[in-house]
Structure formats: C-alpha cells, structure tokens
C-alpha cells in the first residue's frame, strides 16, 4: 500500500498539469500524504504496507515498496512533514504556480519513492526523478546567480549519481539480485577486494549527494538561489537519501571496505564540520549562510556513520544518525522557509542591509529564534537529541586501556563545531533581528496565520522529538 504514498503526489502533479488549481491540489495531496505517512509510520511493522509489481522477468525487477526497517518509516515521516510545510509556505511567482507546485510535488514523490523502495533499481531511480525538477526549478525560478548555481548542481549531482550507479550495479552483480533485502542476505558473496572498490564508489557517490567535503561546493550556492520549497525539500529531505543509502546498503554489504576508508572519511567529515563551519561564519548573506550550515551539519551524521563503521555492533550509532537526519531535515526546512519569508517582507537577505526586524515582525523573530536554537543544538529541541546521541555513539566503544581511538579524537574535535554553529547562527540572528531598524526592515510585515501554520507544524515536531526522542527511537527498534 505504500505505493499510494508515492503515486498520490504524482497524480496531483498530473492533475495540476491538466489544469487543477495548483496550490490547492498540492496542499490537499500533501495533507492526505501526511495523514497516510503518519499512519504508515506508526503501523510499519504490520507488514501490510508492502507492495510489489513485477516489471521485468530477466533480470528479476519489481516495482516494490515496503518498510525494510524503522529507518524507512522515519524518513517517510520526515518527507511527508517537510512536503506539507514546503507546499504551505511557498509563494509562487505570478503565473508560475503550475511549475512551482507541480515540481515540488514531483520532488516529494521522488524522495518518498526512494525511501520506500525495496528494490535497488527503483531506489536509485526515484532519487533521480526528484533531481530533475530540482535542477529545473533552481534554473528557472531561482534568484541571484541561479543559472550558474543550477548548472553546478546539475553537473555535480549528475556525476555523483554516475559514480553511485557504478557502485550499485557492481554490488547487484556480485549479489545476483536487485531486491535489497536479498542483497543484504547475500552480503558474504562480496569479496574483500571488491568491497574496497565498491565502498569507495559508494562513499564518493552518496557523499556527493550529501555534500561530503570536498564534494560540497554545489550545495551552498544552489540552496541560496533555490526557491523556498525546493531548498526546503532538497536540504531537508532529498539530501538525506545519500546518508540513508550508506546506512541501508553500504554498512551491511561492504563493512570491511568501509573500514578500509575509515580514516579518510574521518578527515573529510572534519572538513565538513570545521572547514565549512569556518566558511559559514564569514558568509554575508543569510541564505548562503544557511546553505553552508546545512553542509556543515552533515559532518555530524557522517560521524555517526563512522562510529558505526568502526564498531559494527553499535546500535546507538544507527539511531543517532537517523534521529539527527530527521532533526536536521525539520530544522533546516524551517530555517529556509522563514528565510524566504524574511526576503519577501524586506526584499533582501544581505546581513548588512538587515537589522531590527524583531521590532516590526516579532512573530517572525520568535520563530526564527527557535529554529536557530534548534540548529545550534539547544537541549529540548530535536537536534540536541541527535547530536548528543552521535557523541555518545562515538564514545560507546571507548576503551580506557588503549586510550582515544581515531573516532573519539574526531568526535572531540567536532564538538568544537557546536561552538562554530553558535557563533554564526547567533551572529546572523543579531544582525537580522536586533539593533536599530533600517530602511528595509522598518515597515516589514509580520507573519500571517497562513505563514504560521507550516512553521508551527515544524516547530512542534522539533519540540516533540527534542523532549521525547523515544518517539523516533521506538520506531527504530
């Protein structure tokens, strides 16, 4: 039945193409999907959600959806929540409603399809389906250097997908099946020599999609120029596909290969956290600051994955990665949504031209403040649960006699990232909302009720997971 979740946005997209009112259809479809997704996530263990349709006899391919484990349920939950928020908070330019909302739905369908697919072929295919509207939307409706940014993301992610595809096909050939559950069962057929090669391809391929340092330079400009729903959906949901793929396929299938690349991975993720963090501090625009911050936070999730690679019997690490993926997805979507709102009411996102917005738009300032705190990792909000779990997972196998291992050292260094994110977030908040009003902000209008609904939805989620992380952890059991 999970197929319904995937086909609904596609059906809505087709309806919009044929003239249905764009915004209304999109909102209706995503609301139904949210309800369906919530219900599916709660009952994922019942086995009643699997769906399978044979599409090819030789080699055996199925258009199959289902919950492989709780991780898919969490990712689907993330997708449906962010989709509704994105559709609600986006405001299409005059005359482009069809394109704007249609593409958002298509991105959502692609992400849902990828997270729900149990067949390798469609797992990869649905992700690509989501990328095409992303590219087109950034190029057509973006702002600033939209064409350069869109071309860059097209090339980067296109190449990344190719590398990824090479790894996946290699893997499927060794295991002799495209069914992901059967692949994992046949993991012993992947010989050590191939493991190294496949692990490298998967790390670079998935890594490019998740903006792993040094393949990250597409991300910040693309998010800075993307229209709000695209930035929310890509940074919040679609980007997590790479991490999800690493957890779903790379960890169980090529553990030894990943072990071989552990040290380079640790160096690269420190690049994400410290180097990109440093770059983020020096950003002069709110949108590129948020784009960079999203790249930086990927480092923590990679840290959780590294902890899992180093000590495979570490259930905490997997939960940590998933909770942080979820928390980051919600918080970055909230930040991009509110940043778009700031731009709509002030006409600029340049930090030099902003200031004192809290006076004219207190509601906006309050919500943005919560989102910023979440992003820094303030206790009580979801990101804190995720980050603390990551740090705990990294120290899980700490052994007093042999001293600090590479993962623990990386963890200690990356905790400095929390300081860095506090610096850039609070600095951006001060420059935007505090101080005397300036020309751009003096007459800015505050949030309307319609703006508050998506923001509230996301904030409630952040608090719920922050105060009671078992909501997600129970799903993962």
């Amino acid at each position: 039945m999970l197929a319904l979740l995937v086909t609904l946005p596609i059906a809505a997209f087709i309806a919009i193409l044929f003239g249905a009112p764009a915004r209304l259809t999109a909102i209706a479809a995503s609301t139904i999907n949210l309800a369906l997704g919530l219900y599916a996530a709660i009952t994922w263990q019942c086995g009643c959600w699997t769906f399978s349709l044979p599409v090819l006899a030789k080699p055996s391919l199925h258009l199959a959806f289902g919950f492989a484990d709780g991780m898919s349920a969490v990712m689907i939950l993330l997708s449906v929540i962010v989709t509704l928020a994105a559709v609600l908070s986006g405001k299409a330019p005059e005359g482009k409603e069809k394109l704007y909302f249609g593409s958002s739905l298509l991105i959502s369908a692609g992400a849902l399809g990828a997270f729900a697919a149990t067949d390798l072929f469609f797992f990869f295919a649905f992700h690509e389906l989501a990328l095409i509207p992303t590219f087109l939307m950034i190029g057509m409706l973006g702002r600033g250097d939209r064409r350069e940014a869109a071309w860059k993301i097209t090339i980067y992610l296109g190449l990344g997908s190719m590398v990824l595809l090479a790894g996946l096909v290699w893997l499927a050939n060794l295991t002799g099946t495209y069914d992901m559950a059967l692949m994992v069962k046949a993991a012993h057929q992947v010989d050590p020599a191939s493991q190294k090669g496949i692990a490298a391809l998967l790390l670079v391929g998935f890594g490019t999609l998740v903006s792993l340092f040094p393949f990250h330079s597409w991300a910040a400009p693309a998010y800075a120029s993307a229209p709000a729903p695209v930035a929310m959906l890509h940074a919040g949901v679609l980007k997590k596909f790479g991490l999800y793929g690493l957890l779903r396929l790379a960890i169980p299938l090529v553990p030894e290969g990943l072990q071989f690349w552990l040290t380079p991975l640790l160096v690269l993720l420190l690049g994400n956290i410290l180097w990109v963090g440093w770059v983020t501090i020096s950003q002069k625009r709110l949108d590129s600051m948020l784009g960079n911050s999203s790249v930086m936070h990927m480092g923590y999730i990679f840290l959780a994955i590294a902890a899992l690679i180093a000590f495979p019997a570490n259930p905490l690490a997997q939960s940590a990665a998933v909770v942080l993926m979820f928390a980051h997805g919600i918080s970055i979507a909230l930040l991009f949504g509110l940043a778009d709102r700031i731009e709509r009411s002030t006409g600029t996102l340049d930090l030099q031209e902003l200031g004192g917005l809290a006076k004219s738009a207190p509601g906006l300032a309050f919500l943005f403040g919560i989102a910023a705190m979440a992003s820094i990792g303030l206790p009580g909000l979801a990101n804190f649960s995720g980050e603390i779990l990551v740090f705990l997972a990294a120290f899980k196998s700490y052994n007093g006699t042999s001293g600090l291992g590479p993962v623990q050292i990386t963890c200690i260094l990356s905790i400095w990232g929390v300081v860095i994110s506090a610096v850039y977030m609070l600095r951006a908040y001060r420059k935007t909302f505090q101080g005397p009003s300036v020309a751009a902000t003096a007459n800015a209008d505050d949030l309307t009720l319609a703006d508050r609904i998506p923001a509230t939805l996301l904030i409630i989620t952040l608090f719920a997971v922050g105060l009671y992380p078992n909501l997600l952890l129970n799903l993962l059991k």
Partner: protein, 489 residues
Amino acid sequence: MPAYYLEALTVTLGIILLMAETFCSCKGKSWVGIAAAVGLVAILGLTFTAIGPEAKPTAAWASWPLWNFYQFDSLARFYKIFALVTTLFVILLAIDFRSILARFTDTPDSEAGTGEFYALPLFACAGMMWLASAKDLAGAFVALELVTVTFYILVAYMRRNVGSLEAGVKYLILGALSTGFLVYGIAWVYGATGTMRLAEIANCLPHLTNTTPLLFGIAFVMIGLCFKIGAVPMQVWIPDVYQGAPTPTTAFLSVGSKAAGFILTIRFLEPFLASEVTRGPILTLLLILACATLLFGNLAAIPQTNFKRLLAYSSIAHAGFLLLALAAWKPETAISEGSIKVVSFYLATYLLMTLGVFFVLAQVRIQRDGETIHDFNGLGKSNPALALALTVLLAALAGVPLTAGFIGKFMVFSLALDAQLWPGIIVAFISAAAGFYYYFNVIRAMWWRDSHNAPSLILPPISKVCIGVLTIAVLVCGIWPQPIWSLLK
C-alpha cells in the same frame, strides 16, 4: 503467411506508390506519404501472422530454395517490426517536413518534386527487413546495398541545398569505400571457410588449421559494418551527413540504418562468437571499437552548438554502448538476458527516444528556421508541454532513471560487469557522464535561457500525436520494459 511476403508487400507498395505519384497530376503530394503510412501499418499487423518453414513444413513454399538465403526467427521478426515502425515514423515526419523539402527541389515552393521522398523509404525498409533474416553473406550484401543505394538518394534529396548535396557526396564516397571493405572481407571469409552460409561457417570453424586469413576477413567486414552502425573507424561521415541531410532522412539513418547494421553484425558475428577458435580476438576487436567509439562520440559531442550535429555525435555514442554490449558477449541464460537481446532492447529504446527528438527538431527547423541549440532557447516558456516532452526524451538519451534509456544502459553496464571488461566500464562511465552534460545543455537552453520573443511553435497534428506517443512510450518502458522484451520472445 510465409514471412518473405512482408518484404514483397513492402516493395510492391513502394513501386505502386512511385507509379501512382508519377501519373497523378495532383498538386499536393502528402497523400503519397499517408498511403505509405497506412500500408506500413497494415504490413506491421501482418508481421504477427508471418511464419517460417519450420512452422508449416508441409506447405509448398516451405521447400523453396529461398530459405537457403532467408530465415525467420523471433529476432528476425523483431527487427522487421523495428524497420517497419521506424519507416512509419520517418514517413510521418516527412509529411510534416514537406514545406522545407519543397523549398529545395527543382520547382521551389511547389510540392511537385517531393512525392518520391515518401516512397523511397519503403525500399530501404524492405532492405532492412531482409537483413533481419540474413542467413547468407551474398543475400545480406544485396539487401544492405538496397538500403545504402536508397539512402544515397534520400540524403541528397534537397538538390538546391548545398548542405544536402555535400552530405550526399560524402555519403556516396564513404559508402562506396565501406562497401569495398565489406566485399573484400566477405571474399576472405569465403576463401577461408569455403561457404557463404553463416550456419555452415559455424560448422567448419573447428576444422580450421590457420585462423589468420579468416580473422583478416572478419576485420574487413567489421570495418564495412562500422560504417553502417556509425562506429569508429568509419564514423567520420556521420556529423556532416546528418547535418546536411533532410531531417527525416537523418532520423532514418540514425535509427533504421544503425539497427540494420547491428542486426547484420549480430547475424555475422554469432557463429564466430559461438566458437572458441575465433571468440577471443573478435571480442578484443569489439572492445577496442567500443571504447574508441564511446570516447569519440561523447567527447566530441560536448562542444557542439548545432543540435543536429549533437544528435549525430550522440548516435555515435550510442553505437559505442551497443558495441560494448557485444564486446561483453554472453549467451542467454535462465536468469539473465544475453548480449543479443540487450542490444535489441537498447535499439528499441533508442528508436523511441531518437525519433521523438527528431520530430521536435523538425518543427523547430521549420518554424524557427534554425537547428542550433540557441534556437531552443525559451521553449519552456513558449511551449511548456513540448519542452517537457523534449526534456523527457533528452533525459532518456542521457540515461536518467525511470526512462527507457536508463534500462538499456543499465543492462549494458550489467553485461560489461559480468564480463569484467574494466577498461570498457570505465570508458562507458566517463561517456555516460559526458552525455549527461551535453544533453542537459539543451534542456538548460529550453528552460533557463530567454528566447527574446521567438514565436511559440504551433505543432501540426501528426507531429503532436507522434511526439506524445513516443514520449509516453519512453516513460512507460522506463518503468515497465516488459512489452519490448515480449516482442523479443
């Protein structure tokens, strides 16, 4: 119905239409095209009732000596359908393209000289259908020449257009050269094995004491075939001829002629690849050809600014992927498809994507009077539906998942991985990545660039339906490819 009726009917239809066109005094000529299209649909229907001598050994026709030159199996049926479908779409494209054709014939701006353009493809089609049944090198050669000679005329059809004439001359000279190579190669193969029949060649391979003369002959035949399929080292003609020829002819060359070349390559190489004696060197040769073709086609496509030329390089690039599938030779097994079927499937998806793109290109050529990538600027604004269709088709050519093109590439990569052709795989991945770049360049022009008020295109009904059908087929086969595979059964 005996299978050879199909070729006979196609040729008869062509002759009748040529005569009717000559003696009819009517001004418009598009009825010739419509009649040809209707006839082709009827013949297409008949392919499903066609049978070979094995199915009805008691019939009088089953013992005719013709069957020494002609075979009918599922592969032959598939490639006959392929030729018919291609020709059908090419003729439909020609009907919509007649305004440009009329401009460059002897009496400009009247359709007087355009009638043959609809009838000639039928002869090429008959040749392609015969090639699909090739069993004997002499018969195959005659069929191949029927295709090539028809193309000499079709390429140079726009007599008053310098580009078309230049293309015609280039095609003629290189075509004649490649024919020479082919005949010379066939002579060596005959000399080494003492027979022209492919089945008998397979039998005498184990008794050969010295394979060098045979391999020498095979190498020459392959050079001749490379001309047909558009592969290195005989790829030089492709960009110029594709650019100069009338767009329907280009579409026909790029799909029909290539597929005919591949079925002949498959038929010719099958006995040699089945035998231990000759398999090794032939696979090495195929791998070298595949890598060179992939690199040439894809890397040379990157800087192109003319869309038709881009498609020419893209057609070379796809020939490279197809050759790679052959180089990773694998007979069919219970759980996976063999090289022959993968090549056939890839060609079928290539037909859908390429013909769709040519339909759009023809309309841009007619209504915006240009074929460069710039002429597609702003198509997303002026014709969103058309731009969406072209985006799907180009994404399919690039091999984006959930389109038919992806499954073809996916199968080729799987085969290459099975055969552990590492150099081929690396080259193919570089090529696929390059392909992503140059196809998306056109998508970028359509959606991100402004057209500076170029008029929006008005699609004639035939083009509209064809583009719609082909685009939907590309999407459906991307998710559910089984229909094409069932045709191959």
